[in-house]
């Protein structure tokens, strides 16, 4: 875990959780310690309940019991509810029932454990059953019924939902502005906004574009990360539920904002899946977004500012 303090007194801590990086900053350094403890605890709870790769997680138990009610932590119920909302907002393009489809193309373990290239069979894409997500039943008291024959995967929305949860949980305990980024899903809470550096890779931020996010969430989804090769076929983690195959549309990376990080992530993920229609869809909904196509060209929808220095 790395902790830094800048000249203006803001504090920053970085570490890894949920299979990705965590970046937490608070406007007052004195808040950072308690904030970090809240974040660590909630991230542990989210991992214990929502992970598809932990045999002891509530989600794995619920998937194993598909077709029947399974007792789970209410935290998972809320995470699934957020995923179902995302599906409803996108006509199922952001689909929480892609667990089996992801396994079919090789995403069957933590991404760090997937060989970058293997000679294993590429796998046969498995489309999601149309509308199966509507059959998920939730009991807010702590139970879920996964549709028979389905397996849930919350990879699309769970990090964003956790970012919202953590940011607002910390802000409720202090008057300091806080920002947390979980692998690109970023939430800001508190009286002020925060500058955000947008790039396609956390390891190579050289192409980053910095904007000021006044509140809410900002999410970046990309097909350039979480990629692997099986049987000579390139795979990545963003699937089109209609085909079960990794998306092959014109957009490589999409960043979008939302009133919450879940809303932002829903827009960025859906844009990559819908491809050519994304700009119109975003524009109709008034969602500021920055889209990078497979050639590296950048398109910005209304209200997303041009970078400083651009004419």
């Amino acid at each position: 875990m790395m902790r830094t303090l800048d000249a203006r007194g803001t504090g920053t801590a970085t570490w890894r959780a949920l299979g990705t990086y965590v970046h937490l900053s608070t406007a007052r350094d004195a808040v950072l310690g308690p904030a970090r403890q809240i974040a660590i605890r909630l991230l542990a709870d989210v991992d214990r309940t929502c992970s598809r790769f932990r045999n002891d997680s509530d989600l794995v138990r619920a998937n194993a019991g598909a077709g029947s009610w399974t007792n789970v932590d209410p935290l998972l119920v809320q995470a699934i509810a957020a995923a179902m909302d995302a599906a409803a907002q996108t006509d199922g393009l952001v689909d929480p029932t892609l667990g089996r489809s992801l396994e079919a193309v090789g995403y069957d373990r933590d991404i760090a454990l997937i060989p970058p290239a293997s000679s294993d069979p590429a796998g046969i894409p498995l489309p999601a059953r149309v509308g199966a997500w509507r059959e998920i039943l939730l009991d807010p008291e702590g139970a879920v019924r996964v549709p028979r024959g389905c397996a849930l995967d919350l990879g699309a929305t769970a990090k964003a939902w956790a970012a919202d949860l953590i940011a607002h949980s910390i802000a409720a305990e202090s008057d300091s502005t806080v920002v947390i980024s979980l692998g690109g899903d970023l939430a800001v809470a508190g009286p002020d906004g925060w500058p955000v550096a947008i790039s396609e890779s956390i390891d190579d931020p050289g192409d980053s574009e910095i904007v000021h996010l006044p509140y809410g969430g900002l999410a970046t989804s990309s097909t350039a990360t979480r990629r692997w090769i099986r049987g000579g076929v390139i795979r990545h983690h963003l699937l089109d539920p209609r085909t079960g195959e990794p998306t092959r549309g014109p957009w490589r990376t999409v960043s979008a904002t939302g009133a919450t990080c879940v809303a932002a992530n829903t827009a960025s993920t859906a844009s990559i899946v819908m491809g050519d229609k994304a700009v119109g869809w975003l524009t109709t909904r008034g969602i500021p977004a920055r889209l990078v196509d497979t050639q590296g060209r950048i398109v910005r929808t209304a209200r997303w500012p041009e970078p400083a220095g651009a004419s």
């Binding site: 830094t4 800048d6 203006r8 803001t10 970046h23 900053s25 029947s68 009610w69 932590d73 209410p74 935290l75 119920v77 509810a81 909302d85 009991d139 807010p140 008291e141 702590g142 139970a143 019924r145 607002h168 949980s169 409720a172 920002v179 947390i180 980024s181 692998g183 690109g184 899903d185 970023l186 906004g193 500058p195 955000v196 550096a197 790039s199 396609e200 890779s201 956390i202 931020p205 980053s208 910095i210 904007v211 000021h212 996010l213 006044p214 509140y215 809410g216 990360t225 904002t257 939302g258 009133a259 919450t260 879940v262 809303a263 008034g286 969602i287 500021p288 500012p305 041009e306 400083a308």
Partner: protein, 130 residues
Amino acid sequence: MSRETASRDMSLNALAVLTGALTAAAFVGTGLVTGLAAGYTAQKAQEKALSNAAAAPLLADIAPPPVATPRPTRTVVTTRYVQGTAQGVSRQTITRTSGSVSTVRSYRQPAPAPQPARARAVAPAPSAAS
């Protein structure tokens, strides 16, 4: 009336009779074919309906019957979480045992417009896919 004129009139009359006969034959033929096709379609539909009706009990036997699984009860967990919403919207405090939480409301709020980067007051937080 000249012979040529009488002959031409006869030819025209014969042509008119022939055309009328062909038209009538075409009407009759079309009606006949349409009738046969409709009859065939109706027969097939009836056969399909009978087949479905016959198969229905069989399918009902094969398909697993819907299982009524009662909703379980759960021990109360008291840990509290606070889930915020967009700026300007009241915060909603939820408990891990309280009613359902929906994020639908957040989609109805306008997405914030990012602003051009200000002077580097604080280090930016990253939004990079990983």
